[in-house]
Symmetry: C2
Subunit: 465 residues, 2 copies
């Protein structure tokens, strides 16, 4: 006779921000809930690492929030008493092969290239603003990829290369890899192309967290009932009979629950064996969406040498391996760093190189763009993160939909499958791909479960709630 | 009908130093020979990486030679016109938790610990000198491990911990993991415990190579007939019928030859499928020998800050994660580095940590031992190598024999199996585990093959030679 573990109200799979927020809300409703996490830490793609010299931390994953339209993240910032750093936007930005330009402006491209780029950008912003986030649909923009849209809008080479910087830096994909509609919807979820890309007030990259963004995850995990988060517990199977979920882990441990909240990226659903198998639409989603490839190499320096040249630390490159850099210093901690972000094809190619060549390429690119080789070659610590090489992430920041997927299967993105509910930043209506989206999706998933179990309670099947 | 490739005189498997030297000598004898290499580079455990700032190279694998009793390596140095760097032994050494001591001396251990350690060391040296390298046997020292020998010789805790530094730094194993006889034989192969461990003239760590030790491998590879080395070609099967060898690669390519020279570490023989299977003694060797675990973390600095404190850069630690450091600078290139070497259990535990913790632990250890935290925490580049994580090395520097293996199966170490001949630094009579041993074993393997094929020629079966 085998010992059967008690049946829980809910099991959350994945201790990233969305899963932790969901578990938090489920427990708050008085329901029993554990979180099964594959890794040896909580936080998913929030991961804050201490510098060896004790001066500050770096965020090798999600790094930015704001205090206005990212209301959930700002509330958590207040709740956990976290100090913020306003993203530095003083000084000029640099465009590789092109030159310096003021923050928020356009690089000094030759001829009418700048004007062409500006026109295309404005048309895309206009399209973004037309999107209904609850029902994204726009002419036939889901049948084309984003590259085709840029060409369709009259974009020439420089406009296309600029648009390529957007998809690489924002989604970790080439413009040809994302549906035009998905990209427009993604931007709209952050308030539009300009707002999502902005480092200023209301923008996507306005504030950082002194102690690192993993503080959000750690804070949420600490607020759960003790022992709620089981680390090193990857899930391999989800079995269902009406009203009952059985979750089996890699080590063979079996958990029973009424509901499951799955907080892993859509393309990773296929790494779990479902019995019965996922519905056709869910299967199509997990098979068609692809994870972006965004990496980070964070160069820590003794001093912020770029500032003495009146540079902001923001650079962009059409060539690579990195697409953009930002100043990610924490002056109060004596921490000075430039974060470089290789994305998409360039990141994939760079990732095949041995460590010393990956490092040499990024340093050479920084030295070339900043024109300050000696200083650039003197980092005191380097942090590197390739999310695409990690078994339980396989990419960053979130899944990308190719043409037609959103139109055909988008309806099923947030649809429960039996007792299994789906959360994760790509399922958010607002701030997809950001921590804000993750937390909002977690709240939605918890609400679904609480409501469903509440109804059961009403019908007399469950006494809880 | 399949196209059959022509039959070669010999196939060398593995483009490390021993394999390249063997191929070189086989070709020099006028025989046809290719080298199949699993990696995308030649050199095996000689791997020299350029610093990103262009100032010098680091050797993440084998790093030292001398110009007297390592006659093969010195001949190659001359042949390829390589410049050497004399290992710096000026200034004091540091023992973790103990203090400074002059190079070649004994750390200022408390009480009679130093004297006990010296006595044990001298007894071990005496035993070493008794070994006959062609027939290693000594009382019943192969039935005990090296820890037992140290205890047997009256070694107290400090003597044992010192002996532990030796096996960790020299073999990448704990004293309990190696047969006492194997360790004595290993030392004797380098002239004895004292000479093998020495950084002075005639010692194991006397000279480095400015352009890096991979220059030896590249030089030998370049001296082969063009196209002789096939990279990215891991071998999965070796099949034999009398007089014929068939070598099959992972991609399914088939090579035919009269002889095979296998230049991979003994424990890796079991990763290849032999038809017919390896003889019992060879099987016992591949199954009983274990690869040492020696890692490197090389810290590059702007300046050799330890020298201004009259320190040599040589440190040793009973605690870990690293066992020893050495100054591995190339002053003429403006390259200044400390190479730290985690070994055995400490290296294995350290290797399970994420990159930033591995780095933080080594930096903290350097800062603590040198007592110069600010400077220690300002490396401008860090190179890290964990050979044990590499599919085609699985360890470093070479295989270790546990008790009884040498007595029982040692006779078969260099014994051919049909047409397959075995080389590799652990099969050398002199300088086992060093580049010198690798080259010497390669010469031996080539000699066996040339002799065997010469005999065939004499008997009229082959017209070659």
């Amino acid at each position: 006779m085998s010992l059967k573990s008690p049946r829980l109200d809910a099991i959350v799979i994945g201790a990233g921000l969305s899963g932790l927020q969901a578990a938090h809300d489920v427990q708050k409703a008085g329901l029993s809930c554990v979180v099964l996490e594959a890794r040896d830490r909580v936080g998913g793609k929030t991961w804050s690492l201490p510098c060896a010299n004790g001066k500050g931390v770096v965020d090798v994953g999600a790094a930015w929030i704001n205090d206005t339209n990212q209301s959930k993240m700002f509330a958590l910032t207040k709740r956990f008493g976290l100090e913020t750093i306003t993203q530095r936007t003083e000084g000029n930005c640099l465009a590789h092969d092109v030159g310096a330009f003021p923050y928020g402006g356009i690089p000094p491209f030759l001829g009418d290239d700048g004007e062409n780029m500006r026109q295309v950008r404005d048309k895309i912003e206009e399209l973004c603003q037309k999107i209904d986030l609850r029902k994204p649909a726009l002419e036939n923009y889901d049948t084309m990829n984003f590259e085709e849209l840029v060409r369709h809008l009259g974009g020439k080479e420089v406009a296309f290369q600029t648009a390529r910087v957007w998809t690489k830096a924002m989604l970790g994909c080439e413009p040809s890899e994302t549906s035009a509609l998905w990209f427009l919807d993604y931007c709209k979820s952050g308030g539009g192309l300009m707002q999502t890309r902005s480092d200023m007030k209301h923008g996507g990259q306005y504030l950082r967290i002194k102690k690192g963004t993993q503080s959000f995850s750690k804070g949420l995990a600490a607020a759960l009932h003790p022992g709620s988060v089981l680390l090193n517990t990857p899930v391999t199977n989800i079995q269902q009979t009406p009203g009952d979920c059985t979750v089996i882990t890699k080590s063979g441990t079996v958990f029973y629950s009424k509901k499951v909240i799955l907080s892993i990226p859509t393309p990773l659903y296929k790494d779990i064996t479902f019995t019965p198998p996922l519905s056709g639409a869910k299967l199509a989603l997990t098979n068609s969406t692809k994870l972006g490839c965004t990496s980070k190499m964070i160069l820590c320096y003794e001093k912020p040498w770029w500032r003495s040249q009146d540079l902001s630390g923001m650079t962009q490159s059409f060539r690579g391996p990195y697409t953009i850099t930002r100043d990610t210093s924490n002056d109060s901690a004596g921490h000075y760093s430039l974060t470089s972000m290789p994305g998409a094809d360039a990141a994939r190619a760079w990732g095949t190189l041995p460590a010393h060549e990956r490092r040499a390429q990024i340093l050479a690119q920084v030295a070339e763009i900043f024109g300050n080789a000696e200083e650039a070659y003197r980092p005191i610590e380097i942090f590197e993160m390739e999310w695409s090489k990690e078994e339980f992430s396989k990419g960053c920041p979130c899944p990308v939909m190719p043409p037609n997927a959103l139109s055909n299967w988008g309806f099923a993105l947030r649809e429960p499958f039996g007792g299994v509910h789906f959360v994760g930043t790509e399922t958010a209506y607002e701030w997809k791909g950001y921590m804000e989206g993750a937390v909002r999706s977690g709240e939605r998933g918890a609400e679904e479960v609480v409501l469903a179990l509440g109804k059961l309670a009403d019908s007399g099947i469950s006494a809880k709630l």
